[in-house]
Every structure is written in C-alpha cells, then in structure tokens.
C-alpha cells in the first residue's frame, strides 16, 4: 500500500448499456488526495462507481484500487474501502447502538470507539431509530460508519447532495481531517461543484459517458477563463480557442481553455476567472458551440 502512487487507476474502462455507453474512460486519483468526480445527472458517475465497486460487470478496461485489481482481489480491496451513497443503506427500524453490533460482524477491523466518537461529534442520538433521522443526520451516520473501520479509500456517490450548507461544511471538514493521513484518499462524485472547489485536489469531468477533463483542480480553474465581449469582438475570436460560447443580448461569454495563450492572442479583451461550475456548464454544451 505504501508503494502505490495512485489510490484509483482506471484505464480504458467501457460499459455499454442500451442508450448509454461509458466510453473508454481513464483517470487516476493520486494517493493522499481528494478527487472531485463531476458531471450532470446521467453522465456516468454512478456507473463508474458501481464498476469500481464491482457491482456491475465491465465490458473492457481495467480498474485498480489501492494497487489491486478490483475484481481479482475483490475481498482484499473491499476490506480497505468504504462506499457512501446518497441514501442511507441501513434499515429504518434500527438505531446507532444496534448498528455498531451489526457492523462489527461486517468489518473485521470495526472500531466501536471511533464510531461512537463520531456519533458524539455529530451529535447523533444513539437510541433513535434511523427512520426518524433527518437527511443530514443519515448522511453523518453513513460517514461515521464509513470512517470507523480503517478504510484507506472513500468512494462517495453524491454524498453531499440534498444537504444544507452547514451540514455540508461539517462533512467537508471531516474529509479534510481524514486526508491528514497521507495513506487515505477520497473520490467524491457530485454535481455540486462548490463543495469540490473547497476541498478537491483534482477534478475529473464526465459527460455522456466520456471524460472531458481530468487534472489538478487549481490548474484546471487557472487554465480556463471567460471572455466577456461584444458581438463584433466575438466574431474575431478563433473558434479553435473556444470551448463554447453563451450568447447574450449584448454579445457573448466565451469559455477558453488556454488562458495564457488567450491573454497574448486577445490582449484587448478582458479574461475573467472562472469556476468549476462554469467550466462544467460550458463543456457540457461544447457540441452546440453557441448557446443562450
């Protein structure tokens, strides 16, 4: 484990469904980092995660988690990872105390002390049935359980979706704490890009089953920019430099993916900073070229 460079290595992964194809995707999540896996609903995030967890069969390609093939070494891999979903996967009739007894049978390295310390920290009641928990409480509970058996990799599928900003921040802080140990890594799938902007080290954009971008978050944000210009100025911009352009009544907002080059090439125009959300928005519409 100490020798590996990447916690997740996905290469040429393909999965075909009727009407959707996860098309030859490749990306890595460096060990000790958190990667944001971004895409709109139906882009292929959940399919990728399910393939990683070996819940569905891949058509081709390879998936290595913590240096091991996810299918060949399934048990070894799964004993070191935790998956967190947007819905609580525990029965509504049970409570946190009872869950600890159950999970001690599921995970060999279940740490009851850590689990209860997270419950106290999140102010989660121990004897209240999960059916009476709020969405935020359910998510905190899932995270408490996920972090209480020494997992080295957290795979989160839309874990922060539907939570209020206070709870989201609390959870993001926990993730940062978890990453203090450099052996730990996180893949956080979400379409809420503001969360990822706060904590992600790297980002991977997926759209309609294809990877659009994958790299360091800061680098991605820094290399992109938005030119806000009039209609005549827009006409002068080389189409090869444009990701896509949002047309307005007064002109256009143009997303460019090589800011350094654009600064030199279009010295008369102002290039604004951009965000992950805008990058996603402009990339998703890249095939249209121009949109309103």
């Amino acid at each position: 484990m100490k020798d590996i460079k990447n916690a997740i290595e996905i290469k040429d992964l393909t999965k075909k469904y009727d009407g959707f194809t996860l098309d030859n995707i490749s990306f890595n999540v460096p060990k000790g980092s958190i990667m944001g896996f971004i895409g709109q609903n139906g882009a292929g995030k959940t399919t990728t995660i399910r393939l990683m967890l070996n819940l569905i069969k891949k058509d081709s390609g390879s998936i290595r988690l913590l240096g091991l093939d996810n299918a060949e070494n399934e048990n070894e891999v799964k004993s070191q990872i935790s998956a967190v979903f947007d819905e609580l996967p525990f029965h509504e009739q049970i409570n946190a105390n009872q869950l600890s007894v159950i999970l001690s049978d599921v995970f060999d390295s279940w740490d009851k002390k850590t689990y209860f310390s997270y419950l106290d920290r999140f102010s989660l009641p121990r004897k209240k049935r999960f059916g009476e928990f709020s969405k935020g409480m359910k998510m905190k509970l899932q995270i408490a359980a996920a972090l209480s058996h020494g997992a080295r990799l957290l795979i989160m599928d839309e874990a922060t979706t539907g939570l209020d900003p206070v709870v989201r921040n609390e959870i993001l802080d926990i993730f940062l704490e978890y990453l203090q140990d450099e052996e730990n890594s996180i893949l956080l799938s979400s379409h809420i890009t503001t969360d990822l902007e706060k904590i992600a080290d790297s980002v991977t954009f997926i759209d309609r089953g294809r990877i659009l971008l994958s790299g360091g978050k800061d680098e991605t944000v820094e290399t992109h920019g938005i030119i806000k210009c009039g209609k005549n100025e827009y006409k002068d911009i080389d189409k090869a430099d444009i990701v896509s352009a949002r047309l307005t009544d007064f002109g256009a907002e143009v997303m460019i993916n090589d800011r350094e080059k654009a600064v030199k090439k279009y010295s008369g125009l102002t290039i604004d900073d951009t965000t992950l959300e805008e990058i996603m928005l402009f990339y998703v519409r890249r095939e249209k070229g121009e949109w309103k």
Binding site: I56, N75, I81, F90, H91
Partner: protein, 246 residues
C-alpha cells in the same frame, strides 16, 4: 455471524411476537375447549364427547403448524434488506455472500425450531388435557411440517435474492404459483379423500398404504429431498449475491 443474526432479530421480532401471540391465544382457547369438553357438563354423554373429539382432532396441530407456516416468512426481512439498500451496501464490503446467506438460513432455522418447540409443548399439553398424550405418528407429522417449513423458508430467501431487481408483485406471483403447484401435486399424490380424520392420522402410515411398493424409500427420499432443497437454496442464494449485473 452474531451481528447479522442480531440484525435479523431486530427486523423480525415484532412479526414473530404478533404471530406468537395469536398462536398462543389459539392454543389457549383450544386447550380450554378440550378441558371444558372432558370436564364440563357434556362429559357424561360419551357419544357427544367422542363426536367432539373427532372434530377437534385437527386442533392438536393447528396452533403449532400455523406458527411454523407463519415463521416461514420472518416479517419480510429478505425484501427489507433489498429495499433499505442493505444488500447493496453489504456487497460493497468484504462480507462474503456465504456468510450473509449462512446467517439468514441459521436465523430462519432457529426461529422455526423455536416454533417446533412451541408446537411440541402445545401438543403435549393438549394431549394431557384429554388424557391421550402424544403418539409417534403425531410427532412425525409435526416434524414433517417443520422440515417442509425450513425448506420453503430457505427457498423463499433464494427467490428474493434471485429476483431482487424485480417488482415484489412479480416475486409474490412466482412464489404463489410455486406453492400452489406444490400443494396441488401433493393433493394429487396423497388423495386426501382417503384420509380418515377421526383416527390418529400418521402421514407415514398413510403413505405406507398408498405406496406399499416403495415405502422403504419414502423416508430416505424425503430426507434426501430436504437436504438437496436446502443445499440448492443455499447455492442459488450465494450465486445470486455473487452475480454482477450486466
């Protein structure tokens, strides 16, 4: 396995308690009726007592058999595991399917064994109140229901795991057709009209009469069928959990 058994107990305890309460109440009423018949104002009329005894024969089995049959379903835990997302969660962990299915089967068999103990205790009490005790034939009958319940219970888990992506109504349809088919076949083979309920009915004795040529094989064949059915249910369940969706 302790934690998984505990989970099943938490999920099904209310159901078991309600079934137990109903069966206990039924048993109590049946015993009181029998005491009333033997010791009440009708006790002097032997003909009436005999006639009532014949009619009450089935009550010797009803509460226990009802509990055994009701315990086949442990409050819908199989479907609850699917609906709650627990099954999906367990597949993201290193929990082996063999252990998961093993725990379900051990739990169901334990619950059915508890129902068997209830049946036996009740049958003894019912017998004692009439002064006629319990015969080997009666024991064989209730044990037949017990083993059949275990086999069906394991099969139900296998069915739920195999069809986990399908609608519950489809599963119920398949299950109902299966059970109906089983009952119909049994009725055709056993020919119930030949059974004299007024006598101490012993399934094995009855089968001896029906299948005199193959009687020596019936018990071993039934035992083998039970084992095969249980093992097949186990293998099917484990395979269903190992199956990766396409």
């Amino acid at each position: 396995m302790k934690g998984l058994l505990y989970k099943d107990l938490l999920l099904s305890r209310k159901y078991y308690f309600v079934v137990f309460l109903y069966c206990m109440l039924f048993a109590l009423i049946a015993v009181l009726m029998r005491i009333s018949m033997i010791c009440g104002n009708l006790s002097d009329n032997k003909e009436v007592v005999e006639s009532l005894s014949r009619n009450m024969y089935i009550l010797r089995y009803t509460p226990g058999a009802a509990m055994l049959i009701a315990f086949i379903n442990d409050g819908g835990t199989d479907y609850s595991d699917i609906r709650s997302g627990w099954l999906l969660f367990s597949r993201t962990t290193a929990l082996r399917p063999e252990k998961l299915v093993g725990a379900r089967f051990v739990f169901k068999a334990s619950a059915l064994t508890a129902a068997l103990i209830f049946s036996l205790v009740y049958m003894i009490v019912f017998g004692l109140t009439g002064g006629d005790g319990i015969t080997p034939g009666m024991l064989r009958n209730i044990f037949s229901v017990y083993f059949l319940s275990i086999a069906v219970s394991f099969f139900a888990t296998a069915l739920a795991l195999v069809f986990r992506k399908k609608q519950i109504s489809q599963i119920i349809c398949v299950g109902t057709v299966g059970v109906a088919g089983l009952l119909l076949t049994t009725l055709m083979i056993v020919k119930l009209d030949k059974i004299d309920a007024s006598k101490d009915f012993d399934l094995l004795d009855f089968l001896k009469g029906e299948f005199s040529g193959i009687i020596n094989y019936i018990l071993p064949a039934a035992a083998a069928l039970f084992v095969i059915s249980a093992v097949l249910s186990y293998i099917t369940s484990v395979k269903a959990l190992k199956r990766r969706e396409g």
